[in-house]
Symmetry: D2
Subunit: 287 residues, 4 copies
């Protein structure tokens, strides 16, 4: 994958109107760009236009530093929110964990195999349980003991630490702490959480216990961007598994862990590929 | 299927304790019964034992009228709740519908093909929209116009009508009315509803609109026994389908209708086969 | 749905090259068309470009009879295979059935509810078993008794009958006869079959028996366009269901029937919406 | 989990006949055993009876060394094939791998977290690529370079090595070599393989390439016991994922890897819990 030619990825959202696709594709075409993938979507109810366009930079007549300047007038004319990415930029991803290892191992194994082409400069935890895992993969590991009294202060420390690193993405890999609004606002649409239920069912603590008590026949997992409302941020991906009366809470936990791993990893993958647009507390995922 | 030999089906729940399976299987064996299927389950948390045992009546040394009497002492000793069924008893099933035809057609088509071996003496509706469907299948159709004022009175009429029929099962096949506690108590664990969401998410009205607004990536359907709490009865079966940002409420409705049909039909099938035990607002489904 | 404004749908495939999306969207935009949906795909391996573009005809500056003429030069320049459809054209769909009713009822119920906006001028069968179903829905029903001797002659009769009707789509709704190459070539990519396995597993007769014998843990259904090779045509849609050692062939048949209904109906729906492009014995389905 | 009381697990298969369940449950009951779980199945076609019964050894009147002797007469009378296991016996599991790390990491992570309560005395590979992974988890790693000429000799070396270890289970965790009949016969129903297709589709090499070429809309993975026929052994577990025309072989590989991990781990879990009975090249899995 390292030898793939570099591509540019443009993510756009703006008020819908005629000529948008033509204008953007003309821009790429007129500079000799070959479109690799184009996805667009119109939310008819909200009248919002969304687009992801990826083109090969080989032979493109603008070099990468001038693309933004060249595109800006068009973006302004159509009142676009937009982001430009290049496929060879390495994302910095910080992981937050607690005591359970399954999601952490899964993420690190994808990183080792090259499925996630990222740098992982830091793992943060509120317990030292997983220090050995971090060590296995030779990644710095920082423990912050958290209690009611020190919570606010600890978070300021964490924010300071992250400010040094400037991560592009923070993944809560079964981090069992609620993070505050202040923290979240430092990283809008950059914090991905995995919640162990098919949201909006079973918000909050101990969702497998809730699922067991309600007697559901399916359990699920949901990855979402973190917002100020607990477990209520924009959903990126969900999946489910069947359970029966034979399942105890313990076996639901076991089955659910597989969902947590795959559902989180798909969300991270989409994010790394710049395939997600957020609006209205929902996501457009161009898979 | 009509020529299958008759089998007896015993459904048991009681406090767990040693010797239960041995006692019941001895009872069957000592009267020359050949067990066709045996399922048991213990809820370790509640310490409740559940069992379904089905045996061939061919060569059984008790005739069907004396099985109950013969089994009663054992049942009393173990404090069992129990039901005895014979496979050749035809269930009387009444359908409640409203304006949408998809579930009704699906149920009737399964009845026509022999998948549901039942009698359908009546279809009840609050609108006359589906009268033509009932006519196609030559089934009596009764319309009750319902409004806030007459609701209680209409329900008394419905109960009187049903008392004449004595249905074994009432299926709410997208009947869009809330039925009262009084009605429900006439038919405990005998009324099956299909709700168009993966409960407990999106209880109440317009679940597809709720799902669209929340931006979920899966939609679902849930069949459950009706209890006094709206959409909170024991869940029998659930299933889900993927949706994306491309789905409008309308396309969610379209995709969801297929779920509604299959999820309801599985619940009805389990019920007809006497495979469901209800306790603690949950179900044991011996599939 | 009847009141929706009319839209035009253009399906395109051609050798990939720069400027294709820009050229087509410019064509629509320059005639005041508002794009409702645009999907494109490039098969990188084969270097083929595929596109589906749908725009609102309200306010479009070309009337529907002149769109083709206006688009033709551009199509020629890019060596496009292309089709133009309008959303208000009613498809003529002929059904072929045999003895089993479940798929037929399902298709007819979707037609009755308006999910399939088609005309059904004829149902063809090799048995009279389902004549009553056709009668319920008031659709002409023609029986052709088929045996080894008369097979070729019967097919010529069928072709003659169809030539009168000029169907846009023929659906083999569990029609248990192999149709000949000659017949197929009259209706290229216009005959959809439902096969009761997850192809390419269990081609040919009695796939549920084959599945049972192999001891698989999932069964499936596949809808595909019919080609000269048995069960080897371009796959449109597939789905699966879990089975266990408890399942007999009979219960696999019962579970599989639900798959057959949904998988066929999705394929028909995609076809009716002009969302399928066929190439290389595969399909591009813009859902 | 380590503190769970010890339970005994009896796996039985024999010709079906009356009184089997009663006889076995009487045996347990008469020695003061409390049944924790009982599953039985009758293959009506083959007339074979299968049973798994698990009971608490606390208070059981036979100690674990005498259970076999006490049960033997009953087993002989009914011509049973049977196995007796105790829940606290640690399984010895050897892993065979090649160059891909995803399944290996997944298995080792489940071992680390205690989901798999096994000893892993050895990892075998035909390449040294994954030596570092073995090292991370501190497990002996042996490389055997294999080519056409030395294949038979190498296998004899492997068999000798395994004979020293006496593994209870060998897991081919994406080991890309065909193992010979001779090797297999040393470990009947003790070698589990993961094949990256929904068997029996796409047997043999490069199943994702085969799937891409055929244009399927679902891909799958299958775990099975290894027999002399390539990819034709008794299937333990299967699962699938959706793909579309957008998927390349590379993205199918990526999506399929998640299936491989979960499908293999479920099979291993069932095996470790003594929940699988093999007969007729099929499995009964009492989940």
């Amino acid at each position: 994958m390292a030898q793939s030619p570099v591509s540019a990825i443009l993510l756009i959202s703006c008020p819908d109107g005629p000529g948008l696709v033509a204008a953007v594709t003309d821009f790429v075409f007129s500079h000799n760009g070959n479109i690799l993938q184009l996805d667009q979507h119109v939310d008819q109810q909200e009248n919002v236009f969304f687009m992801r366009i990826e083109w090969d930079m080989t032979g493109f007549s603008l070099d990468r530093d001038t693309v933004e300047v060249a595109f800006a007038p068009l973006a302004k004319f159509y009142e676009m929110d937009w982001q430009l990415h290049f496929s060879d930029t390495r994302t910095k991803m910080v992981l937050f964990v607690s005591k359970q290892s399954h999601v952490l191992y899964d993420v690190l194994s994808r990183w080792q195999s090259g499925e996630f082409q990222v740098d992982i400069p830091l793992i943060v935890s509120n317990h030292d349980t997983l220090a050995t895992v971090a060590q296995q993969f030779d990644i710095p590991f920082r423990v912050f003991s958290i209690n009611k009294e020190n919570k606010a202060a600890v978070e300021q420390e964490q924010i300071a630490l992250l400010d040094d690193i400037q991560p592009d993405l923070i993944v809560l890999a079964r981090y069992m702490q609620i993070i505050t609004d202040d923290f979240i606002q430092h990283y809008p649409s950059q914090i991905i959480n995995i919640h162990h239920s098919f949201l909006p069912a079973f918000i909050g603590a101990r969702p497998y216990h809730q699922a067991f008590a309600r007697g559901v026949k399916i359990i699920g997992a949901t990855s979402h961007y973190v917002t100020a409302d607990l477990d209520a941020g924009p959903i990126i991906e969900q999946d489910v598994a069947r359970v029966t009366h034979k399942d105890s809470v313990r076996s639901m936990v076991r089955k659910g862990q597989d969902l947590e791993k795959t559902v989180l990893s798909r969300a991270v993958y989409y994010h790394l590929q710049h395939r997600i647009l957020v609006y209205n507390n929902k996501t457009v995922v161009f898979d």
